[in-house]
């Protein structure tokens, strides 16, 4: 379907597609098997200017928005969701600066992000703070000209690989959610270290690590925005980043459909290609319908969000839920279409199915997204 992309958007798609084809697909099985971070691929993406897509032009980027990054992530995910996640987490990690950072902070970080010289990560989750972000126990205390951070973040994508971390910490625990703030912590800061790297079911090319802050001292000016506004910035960050996760689902769904259709045309049983059986055809048709519906919703939501609209939470959550549920279903069905071969590592669809699952979990589980949508509906119909 034609989504009427501008010439520049088409260029972005082409570039990301070429990265997926030339750099990601040849390596993805190996990265998955070895649990290996795709450093060289990220450097290739940097050279191709993809890291600059969402950074404003005044800081060396291309000045794109939510929709442009969605286009990039979709194409990268057609290659590998693990690699694409590493790229997405970089944007997630720097959005707080773009949303609430000072001019100095933007000047300090954004040019390096735009060029891909440095990578970012986003540290919210802790062992007791998953869906319930108010469970954050990491603290930040001002001591003279420095903030002193203490606590451990868990399951942080790009942990140990990134150089720039946005960390959510409590500056006033007694105030609950209004007592949280965001800080920029940098690789090499005193008292900042990395814990173990997780061994995951899917997206194994991405690195997921603990971040440990033990009397971690950082300059006073690393506080992002005003003290106590941390959760507001977190919510805004996730609202604009979630369509990116949704687009990972769209790219992954497309990759799975591509594999399934090609296989169904070639595989012969009972003397004919299995695509000639209606049961298989209908499965492929349902995959295609769900996929296109998800893409249309993600694009519409991303364009809505990119237009600086006011109320974006519902659109953001809706596209994340729909596209990630679609990706889970479509990748599972792709394995079904390939039968036993689909279950084997020689074919890429088993990895796709493993990779799909995370999309329903991270950046807010799909249950939490439905909560958000439900609450928004309740507000919208307040007078009803």
């Amino acid at each position: 379907m034609d989504y009427f992309l501008t010439e520049e958007q088409q260029m972005i798609v082409e570039t990301a597609r070429e990265i997926a084809r030339e750099k990601i697909i040849p390596l993805r099985a190996e990265l998955d098997e070895k649990n290996e971070f795709p450093t060289s691929i990220l450097m290739d993406m940097a050279k191709a200017d993809l890291f600059g897509v969402f950074v404003p032009e005044e800081f060396g980027g291309l000045g794109g928005g939510c929709f442009e990054i969605v286009l990039v992530l979709e194409e990268l995910a057609r290659g590998c969701v693990g690699v694409a996640t590493s790229f997405a987490a970089n944007a997630l990690g720097i959005y707080p600066v773009m949303i609430a950072g000072s001019q100095e902070q933007k000047e300090r970080y954004l040019p390096d992000i735009a060029s891909g010289r440095k990578w970012a990560a986003f540290g919210l989750t802790e062992s007791n703070a998953g869906s319930d972000a108010s469970g954050v126990r990491t603290t930040a205390v001002l001591d003279g000209d420095e903030w002193v951070l203490n606590g451990t973040k868990q399951w942080i994508t790009n942990g140990g690989e990134a150089q720039i971390y946005s960390i959510v910490a409590m500056t006033d625990p007694s105030k609950g959610p209004r007592g949280a703030s965001i800080f920029m912590v940098e690789d090499g800061d005193p008292g900042f270290s990395y814990g173990k790297k997780e061994d995951k079911m899917g997206i194994r090319a991405s690195a997921t690590r603990e971040l440990i802050m033990k009397d971690c001292r950082i300059p006073k000016d690393r506080l992002v925005g005003r003290k106590g506004t941390g959760f507001i910035t977190v919510m805004k960050t996730l609202d604009i980043s979630r369509p990116g996760i949704a687009s990972l689902g769209v790219g992954l769904g497309q990759a799975a459909l591509d594999e399934a259709v090609v296989y169904a045309k070639q595989r012969v049983q009972f003397g004919r290609p299995i695509i000639s059986f209606q049961a298989v055809q209908h499965m492929l048709a349902d995959m295609a319908i769900q996929l296109e519906a998800a893409r249309a919703l993600v694009y519409a939501a991303a364009r809505h969000i990119g237009s600086n609209a006011k109320n974006i939470s519902k659109a953001s959550s809706m596209c994340k839920v729909f596209a990630s549920d679609m990706a889970m279903k479509v990748t599972t069905d792709a394995v079904q279409v390939l039968g036993g071969y689909g279950y084997m590592k020689e074919y890429p669809v088993e990895k796709m199915m493993r990779d799909a699952k995370i999309l329903q979990i991270y950046e807010g589980t799909n249950q939490i997204q439905r909560n958000v949508i439900g609450q928004e509906l309740n507000k919208e119909y307040a007078s009803a």
């Binding site: 570039t15 070429e18 050279k47 200017d49 993809l50 600059g52």
Partner: protein
């Protein structure tokens, strides 16, 4: 360091067919691409520029549509593109092509290094690089797999051989033809693509390069293609396996059997 990279637009041989009637390549409907070896030459030039500064100019001889590969070269890091294009150049063999490109380079003026792909995948002759160097009286090295050092005083490079490589030192200016092992080409960058879209491609005609008309195009080409055919398949082959001693034993037995 000012570098010229010679780039040819070729049909994508992945889907090339021979026209059985005329024995020529059926180019219709076949996608045109940048000659893959030239992509590596370009990448090497851009890397040298990134390290030492200077310029990279992409040079191509071909029909007007060959402009596309020059824009692609700019999107991969070349500073500019020059297309040598004139009806009078049509039908050029490797000699006439070398002559024409050499004339164009003289017209362009100063350069320190010329990089070419080892060969073009359509003709597969590997003659234009050396031909060009000869026309320009430049020292040259073919099948370069690595440039070890390069600076104002010259370069040291590895020439790929069947059984290893030679290490060769050359003064500059010089011409190198490169093999694919030399590097891993980058994907065209977004900013590069935007620059490429706006870039002005300079076009040089026969008159601009003061070409002798007896030396260009079909008239200037000593090569005449008499016929093109697919070679007959080779006879049966046997591959011996095992230790060298076992293989020799098998070979001797086989040869004895033929006596």
């Amino acid at each position: 360091m000012d570098i010229i990279v010679c780039i040819k637009q070729v049909p994508d041989t992945k889907d090339v067919r021979l026209d059985p009637e005329t024995n020529t390549m059926a180019r219709e409907g076949v996608e045109s691409i940048m000659n893959p070896f030239d992509r590596h030459a370009l990448e090497e030039a851009v890397r040298i520029k990134e390290n030492l500064g200077g310029t990279v100019t992409a040079l191509s001889m071909g029909p007007p549509q060959a402009e596309a590969v020059l824009r692609e070269a700019i999107s991969c890091g070349a500073d500019g593109g020059v297309l040598v294009s004139d009806r009078a150049f049509a039908g050029a063999d490797t000699w006439a092509t070398s002559y024409t490109l050499a004339k164009a380079m003289v017209t362009l003026g100063n350069f320190d290094l010329v990089l070419c792909g080892k060969q073009a995948i359509d003709g597969d002759t590997a003659q234009v690089g050396p031909g060009l160097a000869t026309q320009l009286s430049l020292p040259y090295l073919t099948c370069v797999q690595k440039i070890r050092t390069i600076g104002d005083s010259g370069l040291v490079a590895e020439r790929m051989m069947d059984d290893g490589y030679d290490v060769v030192q050359l003064p500059l200016p010089a011409l190198l033809t490169v093999v694919k092992d030399i590097n891993e080409p980058r994907v065209p960058s977004l900013k590069g693509k935007m620059r490429a879209k706006k870039a002005e491609i300079r076009v040089l005609r026969a008159a601009d390069i003061h070409a002798d008309e007896k030396c260009i195009g079909l008239a200037g080409s000593p090569t005449k293609v008499v016929s093109v055919f697919s070679p007959k398949p080779r006879g049966n082959r046997t591959v011996f396996t095992g230790s060298p001693a076992e293989q020799v034993e098998q070979l001797v037995a086989k040869l004895k059997g033929l006596l």
